[in-house]
């Protein structure tokens, strides 16, 4: 529009990102602010599906990052635009520190005596979890199906659940409160994190610069440090 900041990397940049990207995007936002005096980056996190729906409804967002291609397609299908994958990820079997439930493998998720938390199948982490369980031939007995991956993580951090499936990066972000166990089948079902400069963004130049930061060496380093895989 006629915002004088439209062509320069300054102003109030709004970034919406999937819950699993909370820590890394927050860090990179600070980095972008340090690099560009005059730029302020506002972030909001949530379930990919919810954020995507808000962008389609006209939320004044500049950049959107989701936890799956499917959710991104609902946006580009409505508004157009060219998403670019900035990182990849995969699930781990996670348990509270000390493993109070004595969980050893994916098959324990079928134990009705254990309290098991999973993502709802409608959100990206839940869809991937269903895929992983199917490949392993495990019929899980979950006690709750959560709204996003961080909600599953919170169940484990609070020790309300004995086991769950979350991203490897979430286990790292939990900083010792949760222990992760690699699951062979999870490596076969990686998930991608696409980023999009929202068509019609109020600050297109700054948005493009931010996405460039994400895909550039600094972004790579930050994602790697947080445990994400390369695109």
């Amino acid at each position: 529009g006629d915002d004088p900041s439209a062509g320069r990397v300054e102003g109030r940049l709004v970034v919406l990102a999937a819950a699993s990207l909370t820590d890394v995007v927050t860090a990179l936002a600070e980095r972008a602010e340090a690099e560009h005096p005059g730029l302020r980056v506002e972030t909001a996190f949530g379930s990919s599906a919810t954020l995507a729906a808000q962008v389609v409804a006209g939320a004044p967002a500049d950049v959107l990052l989701t936890a799956s291609d499917d959710t991104m397609v609902t946006v580009t299908g409505a508004l157009g635009g060219d998403p670019v994958v900035v990182a990849t990820n995969h699930l781990q079997l996670a348990v509270p520190a000390g493993n109070p439930g004595g969980v050893e493998s994916l098959t324990d998720l079928a134990d009705p005596d254990l309290t098991v938390a999973l993502c709802a199948p409608q959100v990206p982490c839940g869809a991937v979890a269903a895929d992983v369980l199917a490949r392993a031939g495990v019929v899980a007995a979950p006690d709750t199906l959560e709204r996003d991956v961080r909600a599953v993580l919170t169940r484990l951090v609070l020790d309300e659940a004995d086991a769950g499936l979350v991203y490897r990066t979430d286990v790292l972000a939990a900083d010792g409160a949760v222990e992760g166990v690699d699951v062979p089948q999870a490596a076969d079902v990686p998930t991608a994190h696409p980023a999009l400069v929202v068509p019609g963004a109020p600050h297109p130049a700054a948005a493009a610069a931010f996405v460039t930061l994400l895909t550039g060496p600094e972004g790579r380093r930050a994602f790697a440090a947080a445990g994400f895989g390369p695109p």
């Binding site: 379930s47 599906a49 919810t50 995507a52 729906a53 309290t115 938390a117 709802a120 409608q122 959100v123 979950p142 006690d143 709750t144 199906l145 959560e146 709204r147 909600a151 169940r155 609070l158 020790d159 309300e160």
Partner: protein
């Protein structure tokens, strides 16, 4: 006056109209007859009814205590009781977890001694609903009790009636509209409860996934079903409210066709 009232109606009703216009009426029967929807509906009705019952049992006496602010500490107590109104429900859910979770203040001991764990059960849903909806009942009933005529309560005392008897036979019947409004508020609030339930009780079909959780779940992925369930919830509440108010208020003073003459004598 009437203009302002009309503005109020517009704010509340127009969004509902938009919702109704967006409803896929043709597919509605199929969407609603889905076993998952019916299961959520059954669960919601059961838990909200239980929560309202519990709230009436403990809330009316509580309101009565609060209405006597000559008692010490009542003002602070009222404020405390009102807190769940302002607490984001999600935080309420966390507070319940901190109390009754496996590591919780009471839940830890409970789990250690009996092996019972409250979260992820229908009991947890009812507790979450009581936590968020009880204050509405309490405040509505308290407001009515305060408005009630103290003079009649005094007259009853001179006739040998104990405070509890006065409450049951004189004060409550006189404030029945307030109690009915409070119970309706409480029921509907329980029916719509989301944040505390999802946090404290989790979300699992049949045990903890009430209608609002089912709607939320469907919202981003199956919007048609979400809208259909919303419309169902809406129809349900309109029915309940019409029926409830009709029954409860029918025989009360000043609400019928009479002029309410000498209501104060």
């Amino acid at each position: 006056m009437v203009l302002a009232a009309a503005a109020g109606v517009a704010v509340l009703v127009l969004p509902l109209v938009a919702l109704l216009l967006a409803t896929p009426w043709g597919d509605l029967p199929a969407l609603v007859a889905d076993p998952a929807v019916l299961q959520a509906l059954r669960l919601s009705l059961g838990t909200a009814t239980a929560a309202t019952g519990v709230s009436l049992l403990v809330g009316v006496p509580l309101a009565w205590v609060l209405a006597h602010d000559d008692l010490r500490g009542v003002r602070l107590l009222r404020a405390l009781v009102t807190v769940p109104l302002v607490l984001p429900p999600v935080v309420g859910g966390v507070a319940l977890l901190l109390l009754l979770g496996r590591r919780g203040l009471l839940g830890g001991a409970l789990h250690a001694w009996t092996g019972v764990s409250v979260p992820f059960t229908s009991v947890a849903v009812v507790l979450a609903q009581v936590f968020v909806s009880l204050p509405f009942l309490v405040l509505a009933v308290e407001g009515a009790l305060r408005g009630a005529d103290r003079r009649r309560a005094l007259a009853a005392q001179t006739l040998g009636a104990s405070p509890g008897y006065v409450l049951r036979r004189v004060t409550l019947p006189a404030v029945a509209p307030g109690v009915a409004a409070g119970a309706a508020l409480c029921f509907t609030r329980a029916l719509g409860e989301f944040g505390a339930t999802v946090t404290f009780a989790g979300s699992f079909p049949g045990t903890t996934r009430t209608m609002p959780l089912a709607v939320y779940q469907a919202m981003d992925t199956a919007p048609d079903q979400a809208v259909a369930m919303s419309v169902l919830l809406l129809a349900l509440s309109v029915t309940v409210l019409v029926a409830l108010r009709g029954r409860w208020l029918g025989g009360l003073p000043g609400t019928g066709a009479g002029t309410g003459r000498r209501a104060s004598r």
